[in-house]
Symmetry: C2
């Protein structure tokens, strides 16, 4: 890292943080799984993946640190689920990055167009 602690716009930092958490196929898989099933035990996830349980735990932790999931620890059961507020925030951030309107609409007003 550079000398300054926050040299980038806050929105870029946030978007990058979520993107980083999404930057591994196992974590994408886990998120899709949780998005469908709403919640499940860690074991259910481990069964689906070709990696060791301890590694899954690690990925789960990274998703939790990034705020994309949360671990519910109600005494009898322990389950993970999507952190909906942050999931929505990430959705908005990515939507903003890629642009909400179709790309064609933008190119119409481009005056300084300079690549194909």
């Amino acid at each position: 890292m550079s000398a300054k602690s926050k040299p980038y716009p806050a929105e870029d930092e946030k978007t990058a943080r979520y993107a980083k958490a999404l930057g591994h196929p196992a974590r994408i898989f886990i998120l899709r799984f949780l998005d469908k099933q709403c919640a499940c035990f860690a074991g259910n996830i481990v069964e689906q993946l070709p990696i060791a349980a301890s590694t899954v735990s690690q990925h789960l932790n990274e998703l939790k640190d990034a705020g994309l999931i949360q671990g519910e620890v109600n005494p009898p059961t322990i389950k993970y689920c999507i952190n909906r507020p942050n999931w929505e925030e990430a959705k908005v951030l990515f939507g903003d990055l890629f642009g909400h309107e179709p790309a064609a609409a933008k190119s119409a007003t481009d005056t300084e167009k300079c690549c194909l």
Copy 2:
């Protein structure tokens, strides 16, 4: 990496690959810059960032490797721009991950709902 080369669904691999490329604030910044300006010299980008030119070049390369940008090298000028087809693909992949319809619509049909 594990023994098998492709143990994850192809769509998850693709999504993760794009997400990984987006997983650094400098790269988000660069992409936003290029999305606005359509194209520019590397120097224009370097000016905006608090990191060394060689590091920017590295980030530029990663974005290029991921397919999110392309470097046009027309003899007199050299410029970078968004790789539109792949940019659109990434947009679709993330849209698919986060769900196109509002999250409320899905929860209506949830029968095995088990988290808040």
